[in-house]
């Protein structure tokens, strides 16, 4: 461990913290339909899009109408992306003459990017044409992020509105999120990445002669534009197979820091947006504090474990101490230019945020570090999460927390002025149960059927962890891979697609139902019998609920994988 490393982690946290309030204020203005600095530039485009699509922006929808619009939009998105991937060989912008993507892989990829997961059973540079990357992957990264934020905003409106039959207009929220938030930030981010050395070209792969006379093909393409939204959207799907470990995606430590900030910026800012919209910024800070504590525990644990090195190698007297000659610690699967801190921080941010981008190989982390990465995803994306999904996941836990607190201490279950009744709790439980059901159920199936076992790269608990990680990542719409598991097979492509579908849409529907139910209520005035949800007590209670619910649900699964593997590793030392 070094002071510089801790400072790097602290600097990242400080930048995100400083961005939260101004960005949160901007988000609130955008979704309230208020005028922003970009209005003169984008307002005309926005109006033209509404006219073209026949949308009346002033007409709002019930929660059910909002949900059906979202489902129809994404169904069309999956079919369109599937068609693009299958037909890429006959479409332009395919300088490498790549063939069409196989049906099962195309379906997996289409579901993956429409659900904001970005699970990749393929290597981007060897499988997808530039048209597929630009018009398919990049476009869906924008739309899936905008859709997630729209759902979060609809839920916030549920808390903020009084006796309202509507929760907003899905098409307006989708359009404004894309035009006023994602596009402008991505333009700036793409230019920054370009300046740092990320390529942006439509030329074919470069062929160079190496020093010993051999021929080397260097893949390149329109990387910078995809990279920007890949990070900002919480999507994480890389242009290259190595993702952000590839020097063309993440060339320098400065680019690495900027990528980390991009991943967390919108998710953190949405907590402030929530506070502003419900009339108490303090409520938003409480949520951000819970996220920060969980994040701090994760990154602290990861960095401490990885910088301490591999205990099994230490018994063989391998030097793993940080010095001027080496970064020290467990450097297997990590890039030297990022070191332990840059890799541990990226891994924690990526799994906590649901982004899923990687700059190191998670399969090579120590067993308990792998357990931390899994745990980050198993708490349903609430540690900042992807734009939107992190906040609505956290608000679901808030509903559970106030309900449990009400049962325990006899206080009225209410949150930010809305009564939490049986309807809201039923919908919340439906939403919270989908992800573990998909994760654990599909993991169990994959562990006992031949097609599931055929993809394994390792036996024993590590192999089991690879399968558990894949389904956890898919159902939590994270998209990062543990590596070591070959998932480009019909079995994994289809079952992972199912997990992603469940983890996204079967959660969003009850979330919107909660929004509709809350919006229809009147606001209850705060009394002495109300549980204060803007105090440290509630913060602690909410933390406890998240940890206990996650622990009870997943601890047995973690015990069979990372925990046993750690015990085996320690046992092997003696």
């Amino acid at each position: 461990m070094t002071v510089t490393d801790w400072l790097e982690i602290a600097l990242f946290a400080a930048i995100v913290g400083l961005l939260t309030r101004p960005l949160g204020g901007y988000l609130a203005r955008v979704y309230a339909g208020q005028r922003t600095l970009l209005q003169p530039l984008i307002g005309l485009v926005e109006t033209a899009l509404y006219r073209l699509a026949g949308i009346k922006p002033e007409t709002e929808q019930s929660w059910y109408g909002y949900a059906i619009s979202l489902l129809v939009f994404h169904a069309v998105g999956i079919i369109a992306l599937y068609g693009l991937l299958r037909l890429q060989s006959v479409l332009p912008l395919n300088p490498q003459d790549l063939t069409g993507v196989a049906p099962d892989l195309a379906l997996n990829t289409a579901v993956s990017f429409v659900t904001n997961t970005s699970w990749q059973s393929y290597g981007g540079e060897t499988t997808l044409s530039y048209a597929s990357q630009m018009a398919g992957i990049t476009v869906q990264s924008f739309l899936s992020a905008a859709s997630g934020m729209a759902v979060a905003i609809a839920l916030i409106r549920g808390f903020a509105r009084r006796r309202s039959a509507t929760i907003g207009n899905f098409w307006v929220d989708l359009t404004r999120g894309t035009l006023y938030l994602l596009l402008p930030i991505c333009v700036v981010a793409a230019l920054f990445l370009l300046a740092n050395g990320v390529p942006q070209t439509l030329a074919s792969s470069a062929e160079v002669t190496t020093l010993d006379g051999g021929l080397q093909v260097i893949a390149r393409g329109p990387v910078a534009t995809q990279e920007a939204i890949k990070l900002l959207s919480g999507d994480g799907g890389g242009f290259f197979n190595a993702n952000s470990a590839h020097p063309f995606e993440n060339p320098t430590p400065l680019a690495n820091l900027a990528e980390l900030v991009l991943i967390f910026a919108l998710g953190a800012a949405l907590t402030n947006c929530f506070g502003r919209m419900v009339g108490s910024e303090r409520q938003g800070w409480i949520l951000l504090c819970v996220m920060a504590i969980l994040f701090g525990l994760g990154v602290g644990g990861l960095y401490a474990a990885e910088s301490g090195g591999n205990p099994a190698l230490a018994t063989l007297n391998v030097d793993q101490i940080t010095s001027s000659q080496q970064p020290g610690g467990n450097m297997e699967g990590k890039e030297v230019r990022f070191g332990i801190a840059g890799s541990a921080l990226f891994a924690d941010v990526s799994t906590a945020s649901s982004d899923g981008a990687v700059n190191s190989m998670h399969d090579s982390f120590l067993p308990l570090s792998g357990g931390i990465l899994l745990a980050n995803m198993m708490v349903d994306e609430v540690i900042v999460g992807a734009p939107g999904s992190g906040l609505y996941g956290m608000l679901l836990f808030c509903i559970v927390a106030v309900f449990l607190a009400g049962l325990m201490i006899g206080r009225t279950p209410e949150y930010v002025g809305k009564k939490i009744g049986s309807s809201e709790v039923k919908m919340t439980i439906l939403a919270l149960i989908c992800i573990p059901a998909a994760t654990l159920g599909l993991t169990a199936i994959a562990c006992v059927v031949e097609p599931g076992l055929a993809g394994l790269g390792n036996a024993g608990p590590h192999g089991y962890s690879e399968i558990l990680y894949a389904y956890t990542s898919a159902a939590a719409t994270n998209g990062s891979a543990f590596a070591g598991l070959s998932t480009n097979s019909p079995f994994y492509n289809l079952t992972l697609a199912l997990a992603m579908f469940i983890g996204r849409f079967l959660v969003i529907v009850p979330v919107l139902a909660v929004a509709g139910s809350l919006a229809a209520q009147r606001v209850i005035p705060r009394t002495t019998g109300s549980l204060p949800t803007d105090r440290a007590l509630f913060l602690g209670f909410l933390l406890g609920v998240i940890v206990i619910v996650g622990g009870l649900t997943y601890l047995p699964a973690l015990a069979l994988g990372p925990i046993i593997e750690n015990l085996q590793m320690l046992g092997g030392m003696h």
Binding site: D104, S423, M427
Partner: protein, 38 residues
């Protein structure tokens, strides 16, 4: 042929999701505290 199967899977999944939304709507419409057992 495979394309038809894959697209049919997508359609079926989204139809089920829409039915799930209807179920949620129905659950929300139930009066609180009412016994819905047969």
């Amino acid at each position: 042929m495979f394309d038809v199967i894959m697209l049919a899977l997508v359609v079926v999944c989204f139809v089920l999701a829409a039915a799930y939304a209807s179920l949620c709507d129905h659950l929300l419409a139930l009066p609180a505290g009412k016994d819905v057992s047969p």
